[in-house]
């Protein structure tokens, strides 16, 4: 029985490319990985956003209307709904002039988790403590 801790770090901005969205969906897939693991084995990702990865996470996105695709906002809320720990680099939000109240929560969907706004040093700690790190 083992738990493998992952740091999934999104460093590229949402939209234009799909990498950052795939970072969120790969993290969410931890929810069903147990069907492929031995009893008691788990994978625990922590989903982090740094640098330009903090761009494109704001409330009120209209990606479904414009492109017919699920928005990053919805993916982010789904991540909270499946109890992922989601960390946003506060240093980078400040650098880009984005206030934390512009980012969503998922209370309306019944999520207990909330986005956690932390300094980069906390993100580095998550990277240090993880067994593997995946940069998206």
């Amino acid at each position: 029985m083992a738990d493998v801790k992952l740091a999934i770090v999104v460093q590229k901005p949402q939209y234009k490319g799909e990498t950052s969205r795939l970072g969120i969906t790969h993290a969410i897939s931890y929810q069903t990985v147990e069907i492929l693991l031995e009893d008691g084995d788990t994978v625990t990702p922590k989903l982090c956003f740094i640098g330009e990865g903090v761009l494109g996470l704001e409330k009120g996105q209209k990606a479904m209307e414009a492109y017919g695709v699920t928005s990053s906002e919805t993916h982010l809320k789904n991540a909270l709904l499946v109890d992922l720990d989601v960390f946003i680099c506060k240093d980078d939000l400040d650098r880009f002039g984005i206030s934390t109240d512009r980012l969503p929560d998922a209370e309306d969907m019944g999520a207990d988790k909330k986005l956690q706004f932390v300094p980069y040093s906390e993100i580095q700690k998550i990277i240090d403590e993880a067994r593997h790190v995946l940069f998206f």
């Binding site: 460093q11 640098g51 580095q124 990277i127 240090d128 993880a130 593997h132 790190v133 940069f135």
Partner: protein, 96 residues
């Protein structure tokens, strides 16, 4: 756990690499230019980011770069050497 960071671009990795703790850096693809180009006469600051820097021989040769002009801090490895580095020297890997 030691972290080996793969740098595959010449310009694009700066923001993350500046803050990430790296024990070793592996220059691959266009990342190998860090081992050769001296913008304004200065070596790439990427070479200061870790005590051990490696560059992939095949990517150096592909680009017509001469191993004779490589920065003295950079060790050249081939794919087999890279596999040994991955399994022997770095428990954790990051690709930027």
């Amino acid at each position: 756990m030691k972290m080996g960071v793969f740098v595959s671009d010449y310009k694009m990795a700066g923001d993350t690499l500046q803050r990430l703790k790296a024990d070793g850096i592996v220059l691959v693809l266009n990342g190998v230019y860090h081992a050769f180009i001296k913008e304004g006469g200065k070596p790439s600051p990427v070479l200061d980011r870790a005590s051990n820097i490696y560059a992939l021989s095949e990517d150096i040769e592909t680009r017509g770069l001469s191993a004779g002009s490589i920065d003295s801090r950079v060790k050249v490895v081939n794919y087999n050497g890279l596999v040994d580095l991955i399994f022997s020297d770095y428990e954790k890997l990051a690709w930027l």
